[in-house]
């Protein structure tokens, strides 16, 4: 059921077809039965009338002229003869429907009752009885029989094929119209689904238009309301966390100033390093909380210069970083978020892989940055999970390596925000490679 009828559209069509088909068959049957009995009645009364008029016309003449008039009264459907023996035989009245017909004819025309009336089906050529004709013999007043052979009026059997065809056509029509109507009917639902998907991927709520049937309007209303509530909840939390992070900045500044006052003291540098780490964590958390919220416009940025600055800062901090890049490569993007994303990836390489070798290549449709390190790499089954927020491989590792596990998350968010992708892979010769691919509009 689930695989074959998993859309409202199909289900509605199925229900319609089943219901309509059932209704149609029932009404068709009733109609057929009524129509047939009506027709039979009509035919029988006409037959009775005709029998009476033939009898009167024939018996009114002298016996010698009777055969001639009988002959002239015959036509394709009725054959009349005057003879001394009866064509119909009462011994062949085995068919109960023939007996019933005789009774009905007698009740319709009581005049026939006076004469001896025999109704029977004629023998067929191959044996048995011929179902298509009826023989009626009426005993004349002066020792003779009026034999009338009538084509038996069939019920509307032949029209059954037409009925099946028209029913099928009607069924197809119903399916077609039902598909169109249900499409129209379920369109608001599909719109709602699309909106739900978009609201999931973006930070801003996507208002769904309130149209369609009432149930769907109510659903859309509830959905919009839910979105607003989620946004409010997220905003409240974000603001609270941002406020906390923000308030921490003043004491952090004081600590920095106090550390500076210690002068050339052995622990001054350690305190500075701790403060750097705290600040980095705070920044990462704030950045993560901001998510995809974009408050910086897209500009053209020279990527090699950006990577050079990151490389130089890391070299000054005593790390082993190299860069191979074209002299100049403009790229349209957001400056500071991109710098943050690249810094996070490169910092990861020097932190866990002891050195970072960057290569920037411009292709026709994309810019590709690879960052290789000489670290142990990452187990294949964990390579995707490192992008999850707050994920740190090797939980036993103490925090001396720094970070809160948001670096890769932020990098991926930023790069995806530029329509690109970042992935990690273990290099054949050992070490990890981060690959950033940023699409370049032509």
């Amino acid at each position: 059921m689930k695989s074959r009828f998993d859309t409202i559209q199909l289900r509605t069509v199925a229900v319609l077809l089943f219901g309509l088909g059932l209704f149609h068959l029932a009404s068709l049957w009733t109609y057929q039965v009524g129509l047939r009995s009506e027709l039979d009645l009509n035919n029988e009364s006409r037959l009775a009338e005709r029998l009476v008029s033939i009898k009167r016309a024939v018996l009114a003449l002298p016996a010698t002229e009777r055969e001639a008039i009988a002959h002239s009264l015959s036509d394709g459907a009725v054959e009349v003869h005057w003879s001394s023996v009866s064509l119909a035989s009462s011994s062949r009245q085995a068919d109960p429907s023939i007996g019933a017909l005789r009774d009905r004819l007698l009740s319709l025309e009581p005049e026939l009752a006076g004469q001896q009336l025999i109704v029977s089906a004629p023998p067929a050529t191959g044996g048995g009885i011929d179902p298509h004709r009826i023989d009626v013999s009426i005993h004349g007043a002066d020792e003779g029989w009026l034999n009338i052979s009538v084509t038996r009026l069939a019920g509307p059997h032949g029209t059954m094929h037409g009925v099946i065809w028209s029913t099928t056509l009607m069924g197809l029509g119903v399916v077609l119209i039902a598909i169109l109507m249900v499409r129209w009917l379920t369109r608001p639902l599909r719109v709602l689904g699309v909106a739900a998907k978009r609201s999931y991927s973006g930070a801003e709520p996507v208002e769904v238009a309130l149209d369609g049937p009432r149930e769907i309007r109510e659903l859309a209303l509830a959905f919009n309301d839910m979105q607003r509530r989620i946004k409010r909840l997220v905003d409240d939390r974000t603001q609270t966390l941002a406020a906390v992070s923000h308030d921490l900045k003043t004491p952090l500044t004081r600590l920095r100033l106090r550390a500076a006052e210690l002068g050339p003291h052995s622990s001054a540098d350690d305190i500075e390093a701790d403060l750097d780490e705290m600040e980095a964590m705070l920044d990462a958390s704030l950045m993560f909380l901001k998510g995809e919220q974009v408050d910086e416009p897209s500009r053209t940025i020279d990527l090699p210069a950006l990577l050079q600055t990151i490389r130089d800062d890391l070299i000054d901090a005593g790390h082993d970083v190299s860069l191979s890049a074209p002299a100049c490569l403009p790229f349209n993007g957001r400056h500071l978020p991109l710098k943050r994303a690249f810094t996070n990836l490169i910092w990861n390489a020097v932190r866990y892989g002891s050195r970072a070798r960057m290569a920037l290549i411009a292709e026709d449709v994309a810019v590709i940055l690879t960052i290789d390190d000489d670290g142990p790499g990452i187990a294949a089954n964990e390579i995707e999970s490192v992008f999850a927020p707050f994920k740190r491989l090797d939980t036993s590792r103490n925090r001396e390596t720094g970070g809160v596990g948001l670096g890769l998350t932020i990098a991926r968010t930023v790069i995806r925000g530029h329509g690109g992708e970042v992935s990690l892979e273990n290099r054949a010769g050992g070490g990890l490679r981060a690959i950033v691919r940023l699409p370049r509009p032509l």
Binding site: H246, D247, K249, T250, L252, T253, R254, L255, R256, L257, R258, A260, E261, L275, E279, D295, E296, R299, T300, I301, D302, A305, L306, Q308, T309, D312, D313, D316, A327, C328, P330, H335, L336, K339
Partner: protein, 247 residues
């Protein structure tokens, strides 16, 4: 060559406006240690009172103040005075920075700043003021243009002739700013060293060479064309292109 302004003169008087008394005290001590005279103020009223009775060479202004915000105070200040202003804020967003600089602040520092950075920025502003001979005009230069390049001082941003942003480190930016402000004049190694020494702890001499070479790599991409920064043997460096000041 202007080499008299390499160290802050004893007379330079800085007003620190911050509502956090501890922070005010710490900043004051730091600046005194760097050779400045310092007065503190907790809010706008105290700032106005202090300015009524004293002449200041520079104001360090926190953005988040009770009552009138640092932005409001900066706007008020700019109406009647050209005193250099350095804004401090806990929000490091680009929008805040541009707003502060649009109001006429000379520089902008996000908390938590490093003490070295604060001193370096104050020194840089003081050096510029002294180089001009008098405090900046009411509207200080917002950008400099040279050979198709633009150095936006307000945004601390360098754009190349094609309009691409060329990322600079803080040290590179300060160095390039010093160069464009003194275009056509020889910048002594001592002055450049003074710019850098508050940021990098060791290897002063080499730091200048390294930083010059890094800066050159970014602005002199085409090896065939005329170099922008020329080495003047024995004395220092000179910035060659013609520089246009944009206010």
């Amino acid at each position: 060559m202007d080499s008299t302004g390499q160290t802050p003169s004893r007379e330079s008087h800085v007003l620190v406006v911050d509502d956090d008394p501890q922070l005010r005290l710490l900043v004051s001590r730091l600046l005194r240690a760097s050779g400045y005279r310092v007065t503190g103020a907790a809010n706008g009223d105290e700032m106005h009172a202090a300015m009524a009775s004293n002449a200041f060479d520079l104001v360090v202004l926190d953005v988040m103040l009770p009552g009138a915000s640092g932005f409001d105070l900066c706007r008020e200040l700019r109406r009647g005075s050209a005193v250099p202003v350095i804004m401090l804020t806990a929000r490091g967003s680009e929008a805040d920075r541009v707003e502060g600089l649009d109001l006429g602040a000379d520089d902008y520092l996000a908390k938590p700043f490093s003490p070295r950075e604060l001193v370096a920025r104050i020194n840089a502003v003081m050096r510029r003021v002294r180089a001009d001979g008098a405090p900046n005009a009411l509207t200080p230069a917002r950008a400099f243009r040279f050979s198709g390049w633009t150095l936006d001082v307000a945004r601390r941003e360098l754009t190349d002739p094609q309009g691409s942003i060329v990322d600079l480190s803080t040290g590179e930016f300060d160095m390039l700013r010093a160069f464009v402000e003194a275009a056509g004049k020889v910048l002594g190694r001592d002055l450049l060293l003074d710019l850098a020494k508050n940021r990098v702890a060791t290897g002063y001499d080499r730091v200048i060479d390294v930083q010059i070479s890094r800066l050159r790599k970014k602005i002199e991409r085409d090896e065939a064309s005329e170099p922008m920064i020329r080495t003047i043997r024995g004395t220092g460096y000179m910035f060659m292109p013609t520089v246009e000041r944009i206010s």
